[in-house]
Amino acid sequence: MKKTAYRMALLVFLPAAAMLSACQKGLPVDEDGLLITTRKECFVSNFELLGNDFVSVRNGVPIIDTVAQTINVTVNFGTDLKNLYPQFTLATDCKLDPKITGKVDFSDLANPKTWTVVSGDRQIRKAYKVFVKVQ
């Protein structure tokens, strides 16, 4: 009888303990609630520009120089440069600063926009300049 009770207790408490341990907190998160990892990679792997109609305005592939930290993109003739949505693809766990929250004005071609890529461990920051050229 005692043995059965013991087994029952094990059956109930062991999964509960396992679940509780899975919920354990302690891994660091940044101010955005994103997990801070150990990754040091910090680069832009792809870049896209969408027009006001959410259709790509790129003419050809963007040239991303991860050493010079520049992105050169040519857009179609007739692109409305004041209302563009940039999209960055980053290395794993990286994030972008400042965040892109909506349309961006790229009409000042002489002064390229700058975004900073922050690595997964939040220790490395690389500022990328985006140069837009009209076809």
């Binding site: 027009g51 006001n52 109609d53 959410f54 259709v55 003419n59 179609n76 003739f77 007739g78 409305d80 004041k82 209302n83 349309k103 004005d105 076809q135």
Partner: protein, 330 residues
């Protein structure tokens, strides 16, 4: 006295409570409808726009013992425009999915706000369609409908429908534009003009339609007369006085059902036209294709419009449709 085992009693009591709560009430056969009765549905979806129909289906029935249907009537709070009618035929769908009409009365007679069908066959139950053509005076107002049916026993059943909001915007479908002729689009007049007519309506010309094969991305364009002529109006000599700086926002995948007349269940309404942000909008849209569209705000800010491209050709012609919203009227 025997001890009651509470451990065993508790689950039993719980089960009993649960079972008791699940007890079904006995089904009662509903009372048969003993008088003339009716029902109605609105079939049209989307905004109610002046000149377009609102379609209803009005069903009515009378028990055989009470006689037959005598006449059906619809009264609109605002008289419908020409073309408003109540069907005098009832439809059934045959095995091929085709709606087959059965004539049950004489064609409807509209007098003011009332549209009436008098039944000419001995019938007890029928569904009639009602098409209300929204009149221009209903724009921006509400409209209600009173459907009624009278039996041969003199008794009447009535059903009120609405109120329904009628949009402020106006619609104009299938305007032909062409690269060398009808290339001046007026939002104010909701039409396209050639150069000669554009010169006499210069203040009303808001967009220039043009088709260019170079650069390759240009193709079909809707460009404000005030746009950079070298870049966006190549080879165009504007008629004297045509110089409006219209704002244009290009849109993709917004095939308004009323404009496109395609399968898409998308509707543009007043609120959409009110909320478009033109603060940084350019004055040109090029690279347009069929099923693209543009939001437009006229230079005087009087009108906003959604211009939809129904079709284009590679010879420099296109068919456009528009919904226009007047910002100056309440």
């Amino acid at each position: 006295m025997r001890n009651i085992d509470m451990k065993r009693l508790l689950p039993a009591a719980l089960a009993l409570t649960l079972l008791a709560s699940c007890e079904k009430s006995e089904y009662k056969i509903p009372d048969p409808i003993s008088e003339i009765s009716n029902d109605c549905i609105k079939r049209t979806l989307g905004p109610n726009i002046a000149t377009l129909p609102i379609e209803f289906v009005y069903a009515m029935a009378i028990p055989n013992t009470k006689g037959k249907l005598a006449f059906a009537e619809v009264e609109a709070s605002i008289p419908g425009a020409a073309g408003t009618f109540l069907e005098h035929r009832s439809f059934y769908t045959n095995s091929s999915g085709v709606d087959v009409p059965v004539t049950v009365g004489s064609p409807s007679v509209t007098s003011g706000a009332k549209t009436k069908v008098t039944f000419s066959v001995d019938t007890n139950a029928v569904s009639l369609r009602y098409y209300y053509i929204v009149p221009d005076e209903a724009r921006g107002k509400q409209v209600t409908f009173t459907f009624s049916v009278t039996g041969s026993d003199g008794k009447t059943a009535t059903m009120k429908m609405g109120p329904y909001d009628v949009s402020k915007m106006e619609i104009k479908r299938l305007i032909n534009v062409s690269n060398s002729n009808l290339m001046y689009l007026s939002i104010a007049d909701m039409t396209a003009y050639n150069a000669a007519s554009a010169a006499s309506n210069a203040a009303k010309i808001d967009l220039v339609y043009l088709y260019r094969t170079t650069p390759a991305v240009f193709t079909h364009g809707l460009v404000a007369p005030a746009a950079d002529p070298a870049a966006y109006l190549p080879g165009v000599t504007l008629p004297a006085g045509v110089n409006n700086n219209t704002k244009v926002v290009k849109v993709f995948n917004l095939q308004d059902r009323n404009l496109a007349q395609l399968q898409y269940g998308i509707y543009v309404d007043d609120i959409d036209l009110q909320k478009v942000d033109f603060s940084t909008a350019p004055n040109f849209a090029i690279g347009l294709r069929a099923e693209n569209g543009v939001w437009v705000e006229t230079a005087d800010k009087k009108y906003r419009a959604y211009v939809f491209i129904n079709s284009v050709t590679t010879t420099g012609t296109a068919v456009v449709s528009m919904l226009r919203y007047d910002q100056t009227t309440k």
